[in-house]
């Protein structure tokens, strides 16, 4: 495979006696939507946290666009083009939807030691923010306080914020968490629309979504990769069926 945009080599992380990430290898070429699945406790969020920089790995390497980012702090990874959405909604709840996304835009608009001027009327911030909201279909809620929108809209806002920084790659941690069937379908369509323009690492539980969207799938159990490859391969892999898909008839 030509040099992957994201290359994870022998990544490892322990918490006391628990091995959360065990010798994980993943390679995601540019433009691919790569899904990471696994039962609860498999270490999927821990993996994403290490990729985004919220956690620092104990061992192994992470390469992004040719650069070794294993020890690069989270805020700097964002500037390298790696954006993340959170499994547990982590927004600026006391600010409006537009404010939320505008902040994400602002983070990538140079330094913020600007003490004059009204940031809320700054077209350089507001216009790209509205564009990101359009992309996820939330433009009509721009001026509502984030705490007042629905859970489904929170998940879309999470996505919009990740997109606002014009990243090269998205790390999406269970974007469908807690969504009903209609909202899930909407999210799948939104993600489908993002597919070629962004490289995506998608952690998800929703198997329908995963098999509808993924180019390739990695299966994580107890922190280890037990299988990785095209969706059909994964679907028919015995180990995977046993460990995970066996209990799940939604395939």
């Amino acid at each position: 495979m030509a040099d992957a945009l994201l290359k994870v080599e022998r990544l490892a992380k322990r918490f006391g006696g628990i091995v959360a990430t065990d010798d994980v290898d993943i390679a995601v070429p540019e433009g691919e939507l790569h899904a990471v699945i696994g039962p609860n406790g498999a270490g999927k969020t821990t993996l994403i946290s290490q990729l985004s920089g919220t956690l620092i790995a104990d061992a192994g390497r992470i390469h992004f666009a040719g650069t070794d980012i294993t020890r690069v702090p989270a805020w700097r990874r964002s500037h390298l083009g790696l954006a993340r959405s959170f499994q547990i909604t982590s927004l600026f709840l006391d600010l409006t939807v537009l404010d939320n996304v505008a902040l994400a835009v602002q983070a990538h608009a140079g330094h913020s030691f600007r003490f004059w001027g009204n940031a809320r009327r700054d077209a350089d911030l507001r216009d790209p923010a509205r564009a990101a909201l359009e992309q996820v279909g939330l433009a009509h809620r721009a001026d509502v306080r984030a705490s007042l929108i629905s859970h489904g809209e929170h998940r879309l806002l999470e996505l919009a914020m990740a997109l606002a920084g014009k990243p090269r790659m998205l790390l999406l941690d269970e974007p469908m968490a807690g969504l009903g069937p209609d909202e899930s379908a909407r999210m799948v369509e939104t993600l489908r629309g993002l597919k070629r323009r962004y490289t995506i690492l998608l952690v998800e539980h929703d198997m329908e979504a995963v098999f509808a969207l993924a180019d390739r799938i990695t299966v994580l159990v107890y922190g280890r990769v037990i299988a990785s490859g095209a969706p059909d391969l994964i679907r028919s892999n015995d180990q995977v069926r046993e460990a995970y898909l066996g209990e799940d008839e939604n395939v």
């Binding site: 805020w75 600026f92 902040l103 602002q106």
Partner: protein
């Protein structure tokens, strides 16, 4: 669209007007005590405004803010003692020493979170307190008097109480205007984001430390100026200005008035200092019908009421005075438009 003529805005406008016209009232009634009291209120309001920037807008619980009052005050007093009476030297010096202290304290403290941050800022303030009480040359525990107020080459006579009051008032309004611009700017948005969800701020790409430090230094410097003012007001500085309970008083002012609002700190300073002055009288009046003999004495224990009052405010009126005004404004607006809400 919130209309401009809300109850809250009217109250604020009335307050600004009242503050501006106070010396007129004093001239008419000869009540010089009011001038002294309100000068103090205005200076404390400025200190509270500076704390509000980091506490109210950025969510940084600094328990050592009174230190800057002391640092600004002592710089002014020490220079005066050593023969440098020009305000043109003293005040910039006060700003510089405060800024430097804030820079050092901030650089060391801002890596900690929550209660650790509270404790470390408190520790540095206590260090400043002990430093001041350890300086024999400058009075130690007894404090240091200022022989003369800051001189401004005849342009401003600070020894004239009315002039001094207006200087303080202008500086207060200037500070509020500065905070207003600051908090609406990109810098201000970063601070609000940090208060709302710092982890997310870092995730989206903000190196939050440097912005917090900048806000910390700005707040400390502004408070240092308030310190120079208070030294002039009381013609005296003492280490007790910086004891940790004074930082507590400042926090009370900010919260009481309404955190993260422009005029909250002014409401808070007014309320606290007013309570200090008038609650005793209120209590005495309340007790008198029951026990005329001890009524006056009862007033002395006004903090027995203030204490639980703080607790009640924390539990039930978290938005402070500004919050209450907004609630009343909303109530009025809605009751005037039947069928709405």
């Amino acid at each position: 669209m919130t209309p401009a003529f809300t109850l809250r805005n009217v109250v604020i406008a009335a307050l600004v007007l009242a503050l501006a016209l106070l010396p007129l009232y004093v001239a008419l009634t000869g009540d010089r005590f009011m001038l002294t009291l309100f000068t103090r209120i205005v200076i404390m309001a400025m200190a509270a405004v500076s704390l509000n920037l980091i506490l109210g807008y950025a969510g940084m619980m600094s328990f050592g803010h009174a230190a800057y009052l002391g640092i600004g005050g002592y710089t002014t007093a020490i220079l005066c003692f050593e023969g440098v009476t020009s305000g043109f030297v003293q005040w910039p010096a006060a700003l510089a020493t405060s800024a430097l202290f804030a820079l050092v304290v901030g650089a060391l403290s801002l890596r900690t979170r929550g209660v650790y941050f509270i404790m470390i800022t408190l520790a540095f303030a206590q260090m400043a307190y002990y430093l001041a009480s350890g300086m024999a040359r400058y009075g130690g525990d007894d404090g240091l008097s200022l022989d003369t107020r800051s001189q401004f080459a005849g342009l401003l006579k600070l020894s004239d109480k009315t002039t001094f009051y207006y200087v303080c008032l202008v500086l207060l309004f200037g500070s509020i205007a500065l905070i207003w611009r600051l908090t609406n700017s990109r810098f201000g948005m970063v601070l609000q984001g940090v208060r709302s969800n710092e982890a997310r701020m870092r995730a989206i790409g903000f190196p939050t430390f440097r912005y917090k430090l900048a806000a910390f230094v700005i707040a400390g410097t502004m408070c240092g100026l308030a310190g120079a003012l208070i030294a002039n007001h009381t013609d005296f500085v003492s280490p007790s200005m910086m004891f940790w309970t004074r930082s507590g008083d400042l926090i009370v002012m900010v919260v009481l008035g309404g955190m993260g609002t422009l005029f909250g700190p002014v409401f808070g300073a007014l309320a606290l200092l007013f309570l200090e002055q008038f609650l005793p009288a209120v209590i005495s009046a309340a007790v008198r019908p029951f026990d005329a003999a001890d009524a006056a004495k009862a007033g002395e224990y006004w903090q027995i009421v203030l204490g639980p009052l703080l607790l009640v405010i924390v539990l039930f009126a978290r938005g402070g005075i500004d919050g209450l005004l907004r609630s009343f404004s909303d109530l009025l607006r809605r009751s005037k438009r039947p069928g709405h809400g």
